[in-house]
């Protein structure tokens, strides 16, 4: 099995086209609080929208203004310019920018382009551990999604198939975690840039094909040369990051990313979906209970603890906290996280960025200085 496609980080729609050519539906989703297992179980290919390589977004800027996160604008740009040709779009209210990207796409397709696509926004609670009512609400939201998808596709959701699909996604999660384990080595065989490419391609392929590619990569991993150039082990945290080139700039200066806390990276794969009784309830528990990003209001302590623990486990020398401009969601973690990291001797570099790599030179200088400061 050729796994090289895992490293093509650009938005790749070949698999989507092939899928749709079989008469099957492919639906885009924004934000990782959308339960993709349900799509796949209904023979719908879930395609996570991203904005990789989007260097300008003039059409989306007109709709969302430049006072919006450029990741969201980039996704809208790709939606508008046909980079994504899909049968619909689903989002949860991950953050307001994700929601507005969806709103603008829906508005244009319904009112201007007069397309008959599937649009659905599901409400995902922002409090789970401290709110005993959240699960029941989210369960109903998921059931609403299932009902609408059944109407759209004419296919009933089959519980047995859903169980099988959950198993497949758990397999993906386990394989990705296996890849992350490789990064614990003193001289890992995979860079942060390459690892991000692998996790990004998750949204471009049907689950079966992705599993095969991951297995092939892992089988071959022992043949990869250890990376000798890393002078400082880094962890990447912050806003939605779908630009491997950004990591490359830092790694070219001697940094080596060995883990991350980003939604296009490790976080969607960190835990398995455990089936405990009702399938939809199990899905709800999984999606709300994960430590994923600060969109949940009652998980900040756990999120920050997870970052600190990961630093210890992966022998991290420094954390790179990148904040997308106009991304509030990931904007406020330093107040409590920085002292916690300081307590374990891990400095944090905070950088602002845009979706496209506009400030590579400046970033390289800051990265070089940071690496020099923390290298051992």
């Amino acid at each position: 099995m050729d796994y090289q496609k895992l490293f093509e980080s650009g938005v790749n729609q070949e698999a989507v086209k092939a899928w749709r050519a079989q008469g099957k539906k492919a639906i885009g989703y924004i934000c990782c609080h959308v339960p993709v297992e349900i799509f796949e179980a209904m023979d719908i290919m879930p395609v996570r929208l991203r904005a990789t390589d989007c260097t300008e977004s003039p059409d989306a800027d007109t709709w969302m203004s430049t006072f919006s996160c450029s990741h969201a604008r980039g996704m809208l740009q790709y939606w508008m310019n046909g980079t994504y040709e899909l049968d619909g779009l689903v989002t949860s209210d991950g953050c307001m920018m994700a929601a507005r990207c969806f709103d603008n796409a829906e508005y244009q397709d319904k009112n201007i382009n007069k397309k008959n696509l599937f649009f659905k926004e599901i409400g995902a609670p922002r409090m789970y551990k401290t709110n005993s009512l959240a699960r029941a609400y989210y369960v109903e939201e998921i059931k609403g999604l299932v009902k609408d998808l059944e109407e759209f596709t004419g296919t009933k959701l089959d519980n047995e198939k859903l169980k099988t699909v959950i198993g497949k996604y758990n397999e993906v999660r386990a394989l990705i975690r296996e890849i992350y384990e490789l990064r614990k080595a003193d001289k890992p065989v995979i860079s942060g840039e390459d690892c991000l490419k692998i996790t990004l391609s998750y949204g471009d392929y049907p689950v079966d094909e992705y599993i095969e590619m991951l297995k092939a990569f892992l089988a071959d991993a022992k043949n990869r040369a250890p990376i000798e150039t890393g002078r400082a082990r880094l962890m990447l945290i912050g806003s939605a990051m779908d630009n491997p080139g950004y990591l490359k700039v830092i790694e070219d200066k001697g940094g080596l990313f060995v883990n991350d806390a980003i939604c296009h990276g490790s976080r969607p794969f960190a835990y398995d979906l455990e089936i405990k009784g009702d399938l939809i309830e199990s899905i709800a528990d999984y999606y709300l209970g994960r430590i994923l990003c600060p969109r949940m209001l009652d998980n900040r302590v756990e999120l920050q603890k997870m970052i600190v623990d990961t630093c210890k486990e992966f022998k991290v020398d420094g954390v790179v906290y990148q904040k997308m401009q106009y991304c509030e969601c990931w904007g406020g973690e330093s107040l409590f996280l920085e002292p916690d990291l300081k307590a374990i001797g891990v400095p944090m570099l905070q950088v602002e960025r845009e979706e496209h790599l506009a400030n590579a030179g400046q970033l390289a200088i800051r990265a070089e200085a940071f690496v020099e400061m923390i290298e051992k």
Partner: protein, 431 residues
Amino acid sequence: MAKDTRLEDAVMRGEMSVFEFCCQKVEGQMERMKERNPDLLWTLEIQSVMWHNYRDAQKSGKKLVFFGGPVPVDIIVAFDCIPVYLDTVPIRLSPNPVLTGKFIDSAEKYVPQTTCGLCKTYLGTLLEDQYGSTPDAFVYSAVPCDSSRVVYPNMERLMKVPTFSFDYPYRRDERGLNYLADQTEKFVEWMEDFTGKKLDWDKLKEAMTNSNRTYELQGKCADLRKHKPCPLPGRMLVLNGTSNAMACFPEMGDLLQKELETGEMLIELGMGPCVNGEKHRAALLQNMLWSSSGVMDWLEREYDTVAVMDAFGFQHGDLYQDLDNPRDCYLTMAKKMQNNPMIHGAAGPSENFVYLVDKIFEDYEPDVSLFVGHIGCKHTWASAKMVTDMIQNKYGIPSLYLDVDGIDGRYKSPDEIKAAIAEYMDTVVNK
């Protein structure tokens, strides 16, 4: 004569609390008003009550409950606690960019510069320990926006006081309504634990009755603005925001009663705020120009244009129906939270925002459309084209887009704002 800045200087040095500053400021304003314009004293009384309540609550043995976003304030009041609406602090300080600047700069050490100025100011005030009182509890909801979602949980951890947070459903539908009503019932239990008292339904009824009076009167005042010429000045729209904090206090109803009587009298006299007669009617499509509210006076003076309504949504609030039926009341509270003014398009799908603005154009017939957008309100910026396209297509009115910071006056001076609006008025409206 040089401006007396002793109070501001004391705040800047950290020697005076924000609550004390606001009390002394409003006292000074009232003294001057008594001398120069005693007939308008009523416009300040609500401010006086509110800030003195905040400052003196704990001295009089009452618990101080800070709150952010839409929460059932009536319940807090029914437990004999004083609710402190966080937004009132930045709004009150905003005419002075030096003061807001102090707290905003402090907050920007920890949150991005692009965070909403309201949130940065109340986080900064906490970081500088300058509220003047330590809250006894904190209640917040998961709206209005991503800025508050970052700042409220951080404030919760800084305050270290009992905290209750409402999860706010994205859509305004029946499921969301029941979800919020169920949380409201849990909130009552939480308040009982926090205060050690059982809910006194009669007290809650009193608060709800006051609240009904406030929103009925606010609706009537809003209706007055449909009249041509609009009898009330644009600046009075700013007062509406006080109802988020004070709706269930009788003083809020008293203020609106006076506003209503004044407006009715002006209609009878055929008068409005534009001395040369009303030529244009403006709709404000986004946040209020708190830091430069004088711009609305200037519009009335220079362009005979009155701001008839804003898109906060203070037109007609939800009213309690059956005050003896707890579930019905909790559902109304949930509805109030869902439709809470100042949330409009922010907390849910853009279609809510588009609908609200459409209603304004239908009901108030403005011919000037100003999207004078607070930069912190990124989610409304991201809906702006849908809103302004609707206005253009349905009403044939082109909109002005202008970025401002409603709280941080350092972003754009009133003169810069006026220049941009003047250009639009001269080249588009009066061409």
